[in-house]
């Protein structure tokens, strides 16, 4: 089949959605289809979010099948449209009024939110079927738009390259250093561990300077390593040598880090409000789920440091949990229509 994968992108911003669409193209081609990625630029500010949606509405696409992914690419019109939803415009839904949303209780915001809900509901309902990347995304779609969908899991980047290794003396936290990822929880948790543990905080972001200052204030600067952005091969080895992986974002859509940790045979420490991460991390089975407080996270890290054999057992269970992940069922489901 000739298949167009539609994805929206804010220029110069590369995240999980952009990586996943590229890998979907590769997977479809591996299965003998002709696949092309169609991208239009987007902007997330309230004033302009409808512009890109309308642009998608007017884009002519000749293909046997169209797979739309993130907001607002699912506004594309096609007689055979499948949606594999990565996310909606969360600032207008579960993030409404939050620190990273420009939707507030003004009349302008409420009018825009109402209209966006209407547009989303209609454009998504056009699809012959709706899949999502996780149950969390499916649940939001039902809660806010009344649409049913099915979760369709896919393997994370580096899935084939990740491997296990010794259970070292550090906790790895690979994440963008932004507010919704809550990297500060890891730094603060370090001050609440009674073990001689280091925290390797790999990634870049706007919070980097504040995190360094926080580490000084908490008295853990000498135990915090912040290598910034790391290359794929370095990241693979960081996973392999970690005692465990800390991943405590707020209400994550999916969370590649969790799956990568499991692929490397490492347990994951997370929080009860981490969203899609909890579809994989089971407390005491594949990791530890705590309250989103530095004290609780610190205690969890200490527990793993005190009992590396238990950490290994949790990691092995995690690896088993993701063993069946593959692009094959994703391609099969999406091309079925």
């Amino acid at each position: 089949m000739d298949i167009c994968i539609c994805g929206a992108q804010v220029p110069f911003v590369l995240g999980g959605a952009e990586l996943a669409t590229e890998r979907l193209v590769t997977a479809l081609r591996d299965h003998g289809h002709r696949a092309e990625l169609v991208r239009l630029p987007s902007a997330w500010d309230r004033e302009r979010i409808f512009d890109a949606a309308l642009a998608w509405r007017l884009v002519p696409i000749d293909a046997d099948l169209v797979i739309a992914t993130n907001f607002p690419s699912y506004f594309v019109r096609h007689p055979r449209k499948i949606v594999w939803l990565f996310h909606q415009h969360r600032a207008a839904y579960d993030g409404f009024g939050g620190p990273w949303s420009d939707f507030d209780d003004s009349e302008e915001s409420l009018t825009a939110q109402r209209l966006l809900t209407e547009w989303d509901s209609r454009a998504l309902a056009e699809a012959s079927s709706i899949c999502t990347i996780s149950e969390v995304v499916a649940d939001r779609l039902h809660r806010f738009n009344g649409l049913r969908s099915e979760a369709l899991y896919h393997p994370p980047p580096l899935f084939e390259a990740l491997h296990d290794g010794p259970f070292g003396d550090y906790i790895l936290c690979p994440t963008r250093l932004e507010g919704n990822k809550r990297p500060q929880l890891g730094v603060e948790a370090l001050a609440h561990t009674d073990a001689d543990l280091r925290l390797v905080l790999a990634g870049n972001g706007s919070l980097a300077p504040a995190l360094d200052e926080l580490a000084v204030r908490e008295g853990v600067r000498d135990r915090l390593e912040r290598p910034g952005f790391v290359a794929d091969d370095v990241l693979v080895e960081l996973f392999a040598g970690a005692l465990a992986v800390l991943y405590a974002p707020f209400d994550e859509d999916y969370g590649y880090v969790t799956l990568q940790a499991f692929a490397a045979g490492k347990p994951v420490v997370t929080t009860v409000d981490a969203g899609g991460v909890l579809e994989w991390v089971e407390d005491g089975v594949t990791g530890i789920v705590t309250d989103p407080t530095p004290e609780a996270l610190g205690a969890a890290m200490s527990r793993l440091a005190a009992d590396p054999a238990w950490a290994e057992k949790l990691g092995a269970a995690g690896r088993e949990r993701v063993a069946g992940l593959s692009w094959d069922p994703v391609v099969e489901r999406l091309t079925r229509g």
């Binding site: 409420l110 109402r114 547009w119 806010f144």
Partner: protein, 298 residues
């Protein structure tokens, strides 16, 4: 360029079908709606408010589309059946009998753009912004000033977590996606199903059940969604007008036509800020035709 001419064939005297009038009002935004004139050489389409109002000449003119409103239970004869492009009917059941040429406009249909649906999140935030209680339940009775024109009950229905509603106001509640309880006579009169688009209760229990509904967020959301779906299927004169135009074929001038059609698909009012933004972008490309474009848009 200019708006396409649609000729209206109607019976004498005032119409007993407010829903049909609402549809014609919306149609008038998109077309140049004119009374029948036997000397007019050509029209784009014809709309007849009854089978008896169509002159023989219009039946034989196959160049123009023809939409005919059927009375309840009325069957089109063979000539009408082969000639008509669309049938305007009152109920979903009648539409199912006539197939994809049928456009449903209930007698109580209203313009959905006047009362766009508000989901639970939007209602919660609006109540918070106005300092209203979160569990706000409104009671709209038969004596309230309805249908449609009265702003106060409609505003209450737009903001409420749930509502107890009897009588014609229930249509506005359906449009707004308000989770509603109603009595048996109202449900029967408007063809509403218990547990789908409304909760039916004894008249003396309506308010209490409405409070229970407000406290049950998943059920309230489900009933609210069912309400908007029911409204779109049977009571939305604007949606029906758009479907009718699609059946008849649209001739709004390019380049605006496709933009306007795409906005119509998403139920975006003509005067919405987002729609005007798109209009402004198109006008910039065609300043010489500014007047025609604005005319076609509205």
């Amino acid at each position: 360029m200019g708006l396409p001419i649609v000729e209206l064939h109607s019976d004498r005297g005032p119409s007993q079908r407010p829903g049909l009038l609402a549809l014609l009002r919306v149609l008038h935004e998109r077309c140049d709606l004119r009374a029948f004139d036997p000397n007019r050489p050509a029209v784009w389409a014809r709309v007849a408010t009854s089978t008896g109002s169509i002159p023989p000449a219009s039946l034989t003119d196959t160049r123009a589309g023809l939409a005919v409103s059927l009375g309840r239970g009325e069957q089109p004869d063979r000539a009408m059946s082969s000639r008509a492009t669309a049938f305007i009917v009152e109920t979903v059941e009648e539409a199912e009998r006539l197939g994809d040429r049928a456009i449903v406009v209930a007698d109580d249909a209203i313009d959905g753009a006047d009362h766009p649906p508000l989901g639970p999140l939007n209602r919660v935030r609006r109540r918070a912004a106005l300092g209203l209680p979160d569990a706000m339940v409104v009671d709209v009775g038969l004596d309230d000033d309805f249908p449609v024109a009265a702003p106060a009950p409609a505003t209450g229905l737009a903001l409420a977590a749930s509502a107890a509603v009897r009588g014609p106001a229930v249509v506005v509640g359906l449009a707004l996606g308000t989770p509603m309880t109603t009595d048996e006579p109202t449900a029967t009169a408007f063809g509403l199903r218990d547990g789908h688009e409304v909760i039916v209760a004894h008249p003396g229990e309506l308010l209490r059940v409405a409070h229970e509904l407000a406290a049950n967020a998943p059920l309230a959301a489900s009933i609210g969604r069912g309400a908007t779906q029911r409204f779109a299927a049977a009571f939305d004169a604007r949606g029906a007008a758009m479907r009718l135009l699609a059946r008849l074929g649209t001739t709004i001038p390019d380049p605006l036509r496709r933009v306007r059609e795409r906005l119509d698909e998403l139920a975006t009012p003509v005067v919405d800020e987002r729609a005007l933004r798109a209009l402004a972008a198109v006008i910039e490309l065609s300043p010489d035709h500014r007047r025609d474009i604005v005319g076609a848009w509205s």
